[in-house]
């Protein structure tokens, strides 16, 4: 039985085309993927991200526990700030990639992948059981009670303050939502309930993610859509979310990341704080950082006219099969086939000529600098 978010009825009403994603029945599109994608690049889109998981970690030892479990340095966060981080096994393989927000002095919110809620919970509980100061940490999976939407695009700033008027009541202190800076989070009220608004996203555009109790999310969704018309706001599905994130090379768990792939191999070393002290996976990641890796995640563009590259298509270089595509699509912004894949380091340099095998035929491509798509200045 597929799970449904509290916005399921809203998606049906809006004509969303529903598909299975990570055990959830989610809208892949409302109008069309390309239409929604371009709408987010040019104006604004709203996405249901309620399928994502939320874990609350609190207590006077919470920071210590998170720093022993996650790769980034949680102590860099002041209350009201968030960071991208990863959770690794002893071999450095990725259990999940996530956003960690510090909501208050000793209160943290982890936004985790929908498909990883169960494994993450098991993993975090096991790590906590081994954590010496576990009495000072409270770990709570609040995924079912919590819903979320992402509002993304250059014109979101035209209406988001009207959606949630006034100053923040907790987190980063600002007079209005649009005063939040990238990765800051603040608390507002909607229908008398607390909603957390963070300036972040998964599209490469300016925007906000709003975390709210499941019971008010449909009203919040309708409220934002009604006020968002000034910024040409459209509901957008997972299809556009995937093409948007692929253009800017954000990893998607199960594609760029899995338990046998490390953040160093994925090109996410920036989010691994080897200097912060001991954490799970540190030794393996330090070894890779010092001695190199056997595969690297590269971004590429097709240089031949071809069908779009897709996950699992073979990558060829120097007449040999050297790797596999992990994400691939036709870029709606650039109108060319793009993707990411893993290859040995000697083929990872930007500008390397590679080939993508599509239904038994090879087509020319070239590795490019990440992100593949950059906003015109």
């Amino acid at each position: 039985m597929l799970k449904r978010t509290p916005l399921f009825a809203a998606h049906q009403k809006a004509g969303g085309k529903l598909i299975e994603f990570g055990g959830w029945e989610m809208p892949v599109q409302y109008s069309s993927i390309v239409d929604e994608h371009l709408c987010v690049r040019r104006a604004a889109g709203i996405f249901d991200i309620s399928h994502m998981g939320e874990m609350k970690v609190s207590g006077h030892e919470a920071a210590g526990f998170l720093n022993a479990t996650l790769t980034n340095d949680i102590n860099k966060l002041l209350a009201g700030q968030g960071q991208y981080t990863l959770m690794c096994n002893e071999r450095g393989g990725v259990i999940d990639d996530l956003y960690a927000y510090r909501l208050g002095e000793t209160e943290y919110l982890l936004i985790i992948n929908a498909s990883r809620i169960e494994p993450d919970t098991v993993w975090l509980e096991a790590r906590l059981a081994e954590f010496p100061q576990r009495a000072g940490v409270k770990l709570e999976n609040v995924s079912d009670a919590t819903a979320a939407v992402a509002v993304q695009g250059p014109r979101v700033v035209e209406f988001i303050d009207q959606c949630f008027p006034g100053a923040s009541q907790a987190g980063t202190q600002v007079a209005r939502v649009t005063e939040l800076k990238k990765n800051q989070i603040g608390r507002w009220q909607f229908q008398g309930q607390a909603v957390w608004i963070g300036r972040t996203g998964y599209t490469g555009e300016d925007g906000f993610e709003i975390v709210a109790p499941a019971g008010i999310i449909e009203a919040l969704w309708n409220h934002v859509l009604a006020l968002g018309h000034v910024g040409c706001l459209q509901p957008c599905g997972l299809g556009a979310r995937d093409t948007l994130r692929t253009e800017v090379c954000y990893p998607l768990y199960g594609h760029e990341l899995d338990e046998t792939t490390t953040p160093i191999e994925a090109g996410l070393g920036f989010f691994v704080a080897l200097d912060k002290g001991e954490f799970t996976g540190r030794a393996a990641l330090a070894e890779q950082k010092a001695n190199g890796v056997s595969k690297r995640c590269v971004a590429f563009k097709m240089t031949d006219r071809s069908a779009p590259p897709r996950p699992h298509y073979p990558i060829w270089a120097d007449g040999e099969k050297v790797g596999e595509v992990v994400s691939g699509t036709q870029s709606p912004s650039l109108n060319v086939g793009i993707g990411m894949g893993y290859v040995p380091p000697q083929f990872a340099e930007v500008g390397t000529k590679i080939e993508i095998e599509i239904r038994g035929r090879r087509f020319a491509a070239e590795t490019v600098k990440k992100p593949i798509y950059r906003k015109p200045a």
């Binding site: 892949v28 599109q29 069309s32 993927i33 390309v34 239409d35 299809g239 093409t243 071809s306 069908a307 779009p308 897709r310 699509t329 036709q330 709606p332 239904r359």
Partner: protein, 127 residues
């Protein structure tokens, strides 16, 4: 609702056939293009290729998925639509017109009898 022209015959796999003498023109239906959305690539069969009814002989790719196109009838490909290969969006904008895929010289006229009339196809797609 999807457009289902009464003058055409249909395959359950969402191709349409238009008949002129013993030449069948094949494309995909309005319903199919609507389901696919955003067609970004079309591969048509080579002229001269002999295909059997039900054989995968063309490919249509949207942003999200690749789908095979099955020939609804047997015959020899006598023409393939180069224009749609160059401009795949024609499949979305004009599925029964400029978005056609290929033309076949029919090998067996009796096969036309197993294709669906418009009313039955409309029923299949819930129209």
């Amino acid at each position: 609702m999807s457009n289902v022209p009464a003058s055409l015959k249909y395959a359950k796999s969402h191709e349409w056939v238009s008949l002129t003498g013993d030449v069948a023109t094949v494309g995909i239906t309005d319903h199919a293009q609507h389901e696919l959305t955003d067609v970004v690539f079309v591969e048509v069969p080579a002229v001269g290729r002999k295909v059997k009814a039900g054989e995968a002989c063309a490919v249509v790719e949207s942003v999200k998925t690749a789908s095979d196109i099955y020939s609804p009838v047997s015959g020899e490909v006598i023409e393939a639509n180069g224009e749609v290969a160059n401009n795949p969006a024609l499949v979305n904008s004009d599925p029964f017109g400029k978005g056609w895929f290929f033309k076949l010289k029919l090998a067996n006229l009796a096969e036309l009898n197993v294709l669906l009339p418009a009313a039955d196809y409309a029923k299949q797609i819930g129209g």
